[in-house]
Amino acid sequence: MRFNGLTGALMDIKQQLKALLQEAETYRTQGLIAEAHLRYTDAADLIKSIGKLKNRESLLSAISEKIQALDSTKRKVDKGPTTPELSKKAQDLIKNLFAFSENKDKDSAALEGAVALAKFGQFDRAVIELNELLQKDAIRVEAAKNILRCHLASTSPDEAVAQYRQWFSDDRFQSGQLETVRIYLDEILQKRGVEADLPSAIEHVDKPDAEVAIEAEAAAEMEEEFLDITSIGITFDSGPRKGKIVEFDVNFQSGNMLSLIISKQEQELIESLSAGMKLQDVQYFSPIAIFNGAGLVTSKTQIKAGPKQGDFCLDVRIVSSS
């Protein structure tokens, strides 16, 4: 009986060991490195816990080799480039699939294609294509901003500064355009704590034109990047919901303009909101932060067709945030 019991226990352990090794091997072939590593370690521990196991040392050595191979694969995966330069064919596909241009002109579509390349880390080709687009007056500023973004993402702020200075010294930009680009770059550098002397084109015009400066600043303000707002909370200061916060999901955002859909069921709410109305107390929820600020209802339109027929679309402009 005793002999049978011992044999049984040994058989059990052998079965356990077999199961562990099989699991480990399956996880390895599935590319689940951490899981395979854990099972091989469990198997090694089990072997070490058995005093008299046939081939004990060779088993441990084989497992150790497997673990080393897994560690090596893990190192390769971890070190693998996050954004390697792709083949031209793959880059063309990215431009084609991720440009999202709808009924836009050829230049805007080309700009979107180049921006798509940059988003997928294909900076070298993106910069080449964006440089070509600098020749197009209508999209010159956007192309320039994206060239700077590419430099900031792929190399260093110094490259971006050098690029700006080069543009400053040639004459392809109008002074207002160049000033917009300067303000844009300056803001990014300030956020990163980088100090750089970016010469202003406005100071170098023969007769400083105040209007040009104002236009450039206004354009820069217009093109300021707004955070993605996912929802907003409006505190009503009149009407049936006075003093209460009502949350709305943001359906669409373009810069500082948010579109909300309000169900036709919410008759009281709809009536208490009108175009031109200033919303004094608004909470703006973004994925990374909440802002308090004000808003301006710029339009209220009833949806005439489609699944949301009868509901209202409310456009709210972010007036200020603090």
């Binding site: 599935q30 590319g31 689940l32 694969t73 792709l86 699939l97 988003k119 997928f120």
Partner: protein, 204 residues
């Protein structure tokens, strides 16, 4: 975002395979590419890196022919599953019309499934979409590994973990053997086209 050409009566929509790393998203596409030759309308493009991990996305265009007077084309994509490629996942998800969430049936991947589903929900939200409203199908993949004695989660447990609230159609599958791959895609296309019909009334 589906593209309609009303003049030509053409519709093109986008279906994305989502899920944790190594769950079998690319294997699904490879099976479709190899087995549905009539429907496949171009090369399958895979951009992968060390250890055959999807780096950016896989892409496969297919055509379903005429459906209710409309020529329907579908672009199938996979996202990279590894956590570090979060921004790429979000980019690929843009304009999605239907989603197949490929969950890994291995017990050891339980938490990764849940994290990936949460990631999907949060990425959709950033595009102003609700996971409860987007056409979504669950695929419980790698069911074949049970035969090898590898610990898998029972379907009931996966339903509780991932589909308790969503209550979307689910399919048990083994992408490597092709089991359930076609059924999953069919369910997703059905849900996607129905959703587009409700929104745009494209069918005659």
């Amino acid at each position: 975002m589906a593209i309609f050409n009303l003049k030509k009566r053409e519709i093109e929509c986008k279906v994305v395979y989502y899920g944790p790393g190594r769950c079998g998203k690319t294997t699904n596409l490879e099976y479709i590419y190899g087995s549905y030759k009539k429907q496949v309308k171009g090369e399958m493009v895979s951009i992968n890196t060390e250890g055959d991990r999807t780096l950016f996305f896989d892409f496969l265009p297919i055509g379903l022919g005429q459906i209710r007077g409309c020529n329907v084309r579908v672009q199938l994509y996979t996202v990279p599953g590894q956590v570090k490629y979060s921004s790429t996942r979000k980019l690929v998800l843009r304009g999605v019309d239907g989603i197949i969430f490929v969950a890994d049936s291995l017990e050891v991947r339980r938490e990764k499934n849940m994290l990936s589903l949460k990631d999907l929900q949060s990425n959709l939200k950033e595009y102003g979409k609700s996971i409860f409203k987007v056409p979504l199908i669950m695929q419980y993949n790698k069911r074949d590994l049970a035969e090898q004695g590898i610990p898998l989660m029972p379907i009931e447990q996966m339903e509780r973990d991932l589909n308790r609230q969503l209550k979307v159609p689910s399919v048990a599958a083994s992408a490597v053997a092709g089991d359930g791959v076609g059924a999953t895609l069919k369910e997703c296309l059905k849900a996607t086209l129905q959703s587009l019909q409700r929104e745009f009334q494209w069918a005659q």
